[in-house]
Symmetry: C2
């Protein structure tokens, strides 16, 4: 069982590789929703049916090689402690939904953690392919390759007219959700983000804060994804999303440039003060830490800070979540204790890489 490997490190191996436009786009993701023919959707299936779906994953999915990806390791939810499920969720290898389910659900993971296949989540199978930086096309190609192999071994619920059938009607058709994680601190600082979000929404593209609750975007990290899954090909959906992402990259870069021109020293001050807080605080809540991490990441991207990796933001955003903190502490922690542990962990982490 390779559970230990998956929950030990906050940052997945694929994340360390870097990618195009990684000063702004942290990662690209393609997710496919797939269901088996002749089985009820998991939301309404009985326990026997769910078990049969899980068995199909064991016999028809697990044994195969998936090209460069190799084989997949399977983690059954019923074998995991709550804290372990929480860590997988914080790493976004499983959904909160799957973490909450008890029976006959599982996730299959590649060694690099760039491929995750959830079993008996909202759909029988949820495949996700992750790439560092802005690589939606590459992620789509990888997802298609995986999907083709899977399709050789599984009988998908597919309708000639509607496409892939899914538990929730919003996924019917391609069953695809394409998304990128973007770091947009300059657009936030400029106060333009809300206007931009409204405009993008009208194109059928969703923008939401990936960390934090409600409309808050902790760490200025946003997920930009397609809303429509029906009536267009996967390639067209990805093309449309890419155009919007290109434009956001452009706008964020312009704003960073403008800020450098008009208030460089204030920007440096902000970045270094945030670094000073992260490297010295003894108690820190996640919202403040996220805000400081965003500043520090911007400082790295603008060349103010040397000796810290770009991935510090992604990594610490995961590392400082309650599950990881408790996993690290090896005990349950009250919120106040978590704030202390978080500060300790961050201090160590931001100092570690300093040259």
């Amino acid at each position: 069982m390779s559970l230990h490997k998956f929950i030990q490190q906050a940052l997945s191996p694929w994340h360390l590789k870097g990618g195009p436009d990684s000063d702004i786009v942290m990662s690209s993701r393609i997710r496919y929703a797939r269901n088996l023919n002749r089985y009820s959707f998991p939301t309404v299936a009985g326990s026997e049916e769910l078990q049969n779906v899980l068995n199909q994953a064991k016999t028809n999915v697990m044994p195969h090689e998936y090209g460069d990806v190799g084989r997949l390791s399977m983690l059954e939810m019923s074998d995991l402690k709550n804290i372990e499920k929480r860590v997988l969720m914080e790493k976004q290898l499983i959904s909160p939904n799957l973490a909450g389910s008890e029976k006959s659900s599982a996730v299959l993971l590649s060694d690099e953690e760039n491929i995750s296949l959830m079993v008996n989540e909202e759909d029988h199978f949820r495949l996700q392919c992750l790439f560092p930086g802005f690589q939606l096309t590459e992620a789509l190609a990888a997802a298609n390759q995986m999907d083709d192999i899977l399709e050789n071994h599984l009988e998908y619920a597919y309708d000639e007219e509607k496409g892939y059938l899914t538990s929730c009607p919003t996924n019917v058709g391609t069953g695809m959700r394409a998304s990128v994680m973007m770091h947009l601190p300059a657009l936030i600082m400029s106060g333009r983000m809300n206007t931009i979000i409204s405009a993008i929404n009208q194109l059928g593209i969703a923008v939401r804060g990936i960390y934090g609750e409600g409309s808050e975007a902790q760490g200025n990290v946003f997920q930009v994804s397609n809303q429509l899954t029906l009536g267009k090909s996967e390639e067209d959906i990805v093309d449309d999303l890419q155009s919007v992402v290109y434009e956001l990259i452009q706008k964020e870069r312009e704003m960073r440039g403008a800020m450098l021109d008009t208030s460089r020293v204030q920007l440096e001050d902000r970045v270094w003060r945030s670094y000073g807080i992260l490297s010295h605080s003894r108690v820190i809540q996640s919202a403040e830490a996220a805000s400081c991490l965003s500043d520090v990441r911007l400082g790295i991207d603008l060349g103010f800070i040397d000796g810290l990796s770009q991935s510090i933001l992604s990594e610490v955003m995961i590392l400082m979540q309650p599950g990881f903190l408790q996993q690290y502490a090896n005990e349950a922690l009250e919120p106040k204790e978590r704030d202390i542990r978080r500060a300790t962990l961050i201090r160590e982490r931001v100092k570690l890489e300093k040259i």
Copy 2:
């Protein structure tokens, strides 16, 4: 001319020696107001009279040895640039009043800068003796020794009944102002300081912020001094002041202890965040810097921070004033530029002593 020596270093040599209760009392001071018989007070004197007083300082004060103190160096205000006067003022070796005067005024300073004798300030002579830590009795003894030697060479304006005659009636009698500089962060944090100040005022003792304007006490540094100069001996005035200072020390220590007991980690957090800001900011105003310096000084006194001297607070509070900053930059600076220089200077200073 030893001007260079006096304006080069922010911290006077006497300050580095440390003294009793220096976790709370930064320094002790005795000031005597003295005037010459047969000359009008400087506030009303003509220029010829003022020049005669200055000549007496040159012929009757300068040539003598003053025990351990040695000889005094004389700086005439008319020889100094505004920026140089400002630096002496920020070091509290001369008063704002003397710095503003043009003609026939001067200051005589000992090598250690623990003795300052202003000529033609509000009174003909203003003698001040400074000691590190809580050493009012020692400062009084030193002031008396200086005063006795001066009295051998000068004819003081003295009335058998009223005592020493002074330009302002509030100084008549002993002509003495005894004061201590105290760092009282815990009393401020506890919100008790205003009540305490009112109670102390009723004892004829003044408490005021030494830096900052109005009632604000930048850096939580307070000057505690006698208000009465008449009807009591110097020793009795100092005794009364000492009792009040002892009580303040006690209260501040109790409050520090209570805070350590109830919220140690929050206190550490506050101290280290302030250190993080001082060691990383690129732009900082004096009020924020003072507040952070106060936290850092408290952290040194409580043993949270190693490798930084207690004197960092006194030193940087002087170093970061406009005069010193401009002296250091060797040019006039706009307020915005000062905020940048201040941050640079503080970063260098707080890192320098780090072990």
